[in-house]
């Protein structure tokens, strides 16, 4: 395919993904707004007012970046895992596999769909958050870079999950038993400084720690880890996930017999 034809194929995949999740917006966009409103209300406003400061800022300000990032992570992951597995389930993935669309465009197409939903949800949740707390962004560059990299990373993870999934149960196991615990243990609600040394060290293996702290730095200018190191870690996780996802598509594992 010529570069222009590849561009059309990519746009087609992105358009298809956006139409899919906007068509079912009550299942894809609305829940995050409602859930995050409750988080802001309960943890930020009601309980947070009794906690006082954390990391040098009010507890409400402290949790907002983590909650926004939580919404981005779950939505970018959920978009790709459900869309790709759905295509496998109804065999419409064959439309793509028999076409000359290169694997990297297929990958990019699904990932850009996940990124677009992650970013759209980020805007919605940030708008909701601004009703509870005044947000003065410390660094727009860091915010945009972290959101982009994180949504790419978790979109790729969603695709890998979808490739291996055989049933709809398989696509809910990872979000329930892996993603959610990692998010809660990734410093969304607390500073790593509160943890004993051992658990603080263990937390270094959790990619969500870097995602949440880098984003918190972008919004508030405070972080438990070095921002440069956090970017290096997120970038490394993304590269590994990309190479593995590309390998799965190239070999046709679970896609071709």
């Amino acid at each position: 395919m010529t570069p222009y034809e590849q561009y059309i194929a990519l746009l087609t995949l992105l358009r298809k993904e956006i139409r899919r999740y906007t068509r079912i917006w009550t299942q894809t966009l609305l829940p995050s707004a409602i859930t995050m409103s409750l988080y802001f209300l309960i943890f930020g406003s009601l309980i947070g007012s009794r906690i006082g400061q954390m990391g040098g800022v009010s507890y409400m300000e402290f949790v907002v970046p983590g909650l926004i990032m939580m919404a981005i992570v779950t939505n970018s992951y959920a978009n790709v895992v459900s869309s790709f597995f759905g295509s496998k389930f109804n065999n419409s993935i064959e439309e793509l596999l028999v076409s000359p669309t290169p694997n990297h465009i297929i990958l990019l197409g699904f990932v850009s769909g996940g990124v677009s939903r992650g970013m759209l949800v980020a805007v919605i949740v940030t708008t909701v958050a601004s009703l509870f707390v005044e947000l003065n962004i410390h660094s727009y560059a860091v915010v945009v870079a972290v959101v982009a990299l994180t949504s790419v990373l978790f979109s790729l993870c969603g695709l890998i999950n979808a490739v291996f999934a055989n049933t709809f149960d398989d696509i809910s196991i990872v979000p329930t038993f892996v993603l959610t615990p990692l998010t809660y243990l990734g410093g969304v609600f607390y500073s790593l400084e509160l943890l004993p040394d051992f658990w603080a060290t263990v937390s270094q293996a959790n990619p969500l720690v870097y995602v949440v702290n880098a984003f918190r730095f972008g919004v508030l200018g405070v972080s438990d880890v070095s921002v440069g190191f956090a970017f290096a870690m997120i970038g490394s996780f993304t590269l590994v996930a990309y190479l593995y996802a590309a390998h799965l598509l190239r070999t046709g594992k679970r896609l071709r017999t």
């Binding site: 010529t2 194929a9 439309e95």
Partner: protein
């Protein structure tokens, strides 16, 4: 001679050890209307799967319009349109969206795609279903949608895996006319079907596959010529005598006005008619008792078993 499809030594062994293809060789000329027949599990769908990249081959080479799929699969895929046996589109999408997406995967701009959609929906009688979600279509409409989808990038080779399964007779005939039309316009068509009269009436060349091997690969004419015996049903104007017999011909009296004649290769049915006429029996109609290709098909499979 240039070929639309060349397959040499194609083998497929699945992960469970099943050898679905045992080194098949096949050539389909450009512009041909080709039938690939075989019983269930013979290897037809596996062969098609390898050609269109849904199945990874174990050994052998496949060339589509001279392009080796191992050397440049994307280029080979451009020449191919595939209508699979099972519905494989997102039933929650509209007919138009399914076609636009498929066009996009081939790098076709939206404007061109819309023009082609107009054309193919009109030809396949789906214009009024353009904005209907696929799940609301009847079985026959879904099949026609898959044909439109396979043609949206205007391939030179169209592969149809059981395209008329579950389609009513009227729609089937309309589909035949459409396939004949695009074949006449130069598209090579490769068809698998269980309706043998479909293959006999549409296809010029034929291959029969069984247990992963090609049993025969010849022209439809040659294959039917190999038939040694045919059975005809004759309807008489006059009541047939109880002890009717004609020397040299094997006849079976079905009822008072109906006769079954078994004609061996070399025998002349005109001679039988003439001799019946001499005995005062006029024949008002005659038909072949069974599909000739079906007879041949069964006999070839029995030989191979």
């Amino acid at each position: 001679m240039s070929y639309a499809l060349e397959i040499e030594g194609l083998e497929k062994i699945y992960a469970n050890g099943l050898q679905a293809l045992k080194g098949i060789d096949l050539k389909v000329s450009q512009g041909d209307f080709f039938a690939l027949l075989g019983p269930n599990g013979a290897g037809k769908s596996t062969t098609i799967g390898v050609i269109c990249s849904l199945v990874n081959k174990t050994a052998g080479t496949v060339r589509v319009k001279g392009v080796d799929i191992d050397a440049d699969f994307p280029k080979a895929k451009r020449h191919l349109g595939v209508v699979p046996q099972e519905f494989n589109f997102n039933v929650f999408e509209s007919v138009e969206d399914i076609l636009i997406h498929q066009a996009g995967y081939y790098g076709i701009p939206l404007k061109t795609a819309r023009e082609r959609i107009d054309t193919y929906l009109a030809k396949l009688g789906l214009t009024d279903k353009r904005h209907t979600r696929a799940r609301m279509l009847s079985g026959g409409m879904k099949r026609r949608l898959m044909i439109a989808r396979a043609l949206i990038h205007e391939p030179s080779v169209l592969i149809l895996d059981e395209p008329t399964a579950g389609v009513d007779i009227e729609m089937r005939r309309a589909m035949y006319d459409f396939l004949k039309e695009i074949n006449a316009a130069g598209t090579t068509i490769i068809l698998t079907t269980h309706y043998l009269e479909e293959a006999e009436s549409l296809c010029r060349n034929i291959a029969i596959i069984n247990h992963g091997e090609i049993v025969t690969n010849t022209s439809m004419k040659n294959l039917l010529r190999e038939l040694h015996r045919e059975t005809f049903i004759l309807d008489a104007r006059e009541r047939l005598p109880e002890d009717l017999s004609v020397e040299g011909f094997e006849l079976t009296r079905v009822d008072d006005f109906c006769l079954q004649a078994h004609i061996e290769q070399g025998q002349d049915i005109a001679e039988l008619m003439s001799r019946l006429h001499d005995r005062g029996i006029g024949i008002i109609s005659m038909r072949n008792r069974e599909n000739r290709l079906e007879q041949m098909f069964v006999s070839l499979l029995e030989q191979g078993a």
